[in-house]
């Protein structure tokens, strides 16, 4: 396996980062890595959606599942391993959350990755993601999940954004080569 860097985009106080090219039949698997995404708004989630070829708007139908582990820093030391209804979706067209509520402190950010499988074809377009971040009120949190775009259209565009407000961060799209 090797990674081929297709495009890196860095945003400062942007509302979204769009990838409108680079997703095609060249690779069976694409990997987005997101680095140090820091929201302007407190307690918001880093999210994505797709757009199928010939369609308008990032509003494809998504089915997904996911979970998280969290650990509160400091006195309470609260912990939990849980299924997260916050990040799962039942055939909804809203954005797919990859985190719960990110703390927007200056040293806090979310980093992680999103894998896309077979974006071209009539199959379900499956994805899986994971992220690590400090969530609101000093919780260390690890989220993960998977799902699919429930469309027979080709997913050739992906948008990343926060649920609310702008953000700083960097996202790179890689093609995953078999050799």
């Amino acid at each position: 396996m090797s990674l081929v860097n297709i495009l890196t985009q860095t945003g400062t106080n942007v509302s979204e980062i769009d990838f409108t090219s680079g997703l095609d039949s060249t690779y069976d698997i694409y990997l987005f890595k997101f680095f140090e995404c820091n929201p302007a708004t407190q307690s918001t989630s880093f999210s994505f959606q797709g757009n199928a070829t010939g369609q308008t708007g990032f509003n494809e139908v998504i089915q997904s599942t996911g979970g998280s582990a969290y650990h509160e820093e400091g006195g309470a030391d609260t912990t939990e391993l849980r299924y997260t209804t916050w990040t799962h979706k039942a055939n909804l067209t809203t954005f797919q959350r990859m985190t719960t509520s990110i703390d927007n402190g200056s040293e806090n950010s979310a980093s992680g990755e999103l894998w896309l499988h077979n974006v071209i074809g009539t199959n379900h377009k499956q994805f899986r993601y994971s992220s690590v971040f400090m969530s609101t009120s000093n919780y260390c949190e690890n989220t993960w999940g998977c799902g699919y775009f429930n469309t027979q259209g080709n997913i050739t565009e992906i948008r990343f954004k926060m649920d609310s407000g702008n953000f700083d961060g960097q996202v790179t799209l890689y093609g995953v080569a078999k050799e």
């Binding site: 090797s2 391993l81 040293e107 400090m134 949190e141 690890n142 080569a177």
Partner: protein, 184 residues
């Protein structure tokens, strides 16, 4: 496992260390990469029921003892005789603003056929702005005939750039190989 200096697209093999009866393996992280991935192969400790742990050095430190780390840690386990199986958060393995050694897999067995394999990732350790997030996942033959899948994730809550990372057992020496990959 590859040879240091070899690249595979945007994945670059930065370092590879193989040890027999070593007490630790140290790696230097520079600002050339946005993420490092460490791959662990066939780790076998000399001490039974020990843990694989790590710590970092910031550029203003030298003793792997002053960067506070907080983690989440959970495990899926299955006893070989099928007596027990489950999945749980592991309160005894996580870290809470800890400047000491941080566990990334635990209760390793030291029989000759027991081993741990896995990977550890850390994002942009050279950042002077953000805390550094990391995650790891290991499969482990435990000393007590349990087989486990250990997942750890967290952050080094230090905005000073990190330049060193050390992996070792909580007790005793170990055999094994660790490779360090950089992603551009």
């Amino acid at each position: 496992m590859g040879v240091a200096g070899v690249s595979s697209g945007e994945l670059f093999l930065v370092d590879s260390q193989t040890g027999t009866g070593v007490t630790e393996m140290d790696f230097t992280m520079d600002g050339s990469y946005r993420e490092f991935i460490f791959k662990f192969y066939n780790l076998n400790p000399t001490t039974d029921n020990t843990a694989l742990v790590f710590q970092v050095n910031a550029t203003d430190g030298a003793d792997y003892d002053d960067s506070p780390i907080t983690t989440t840690y959970f495990e899926a386990y299955h006893q070989r005789g099928d007596a027990s199986a489950g999945m749980a958060y592991s309160l005894n393995q996580d870290s809470n603003v800890n400047t000491s050694w941080v566990t990334i897999c635990h209760q390793l067995g030291n029989d000759t056929d027991e081993q741990s394999n896995g990977e550890f990732r850390i994002t942009n350790p050279s950042s002077s702005v953000f805390a550094k997030t990391f995650s790891s996942r290991f499969v482990t033959d435990q000393y007590n005939d349990y087989f486990e899948d250990n997942t750890c994730a967290g952050y080094v809550d230090d905005v000073t750039p990190l330049d060193d990372i050390r992996f070792k057992m909580s007790s005793g020496a170990f055999d094994g190989t660790i490779t360090m990959w950089g992603i551009k």
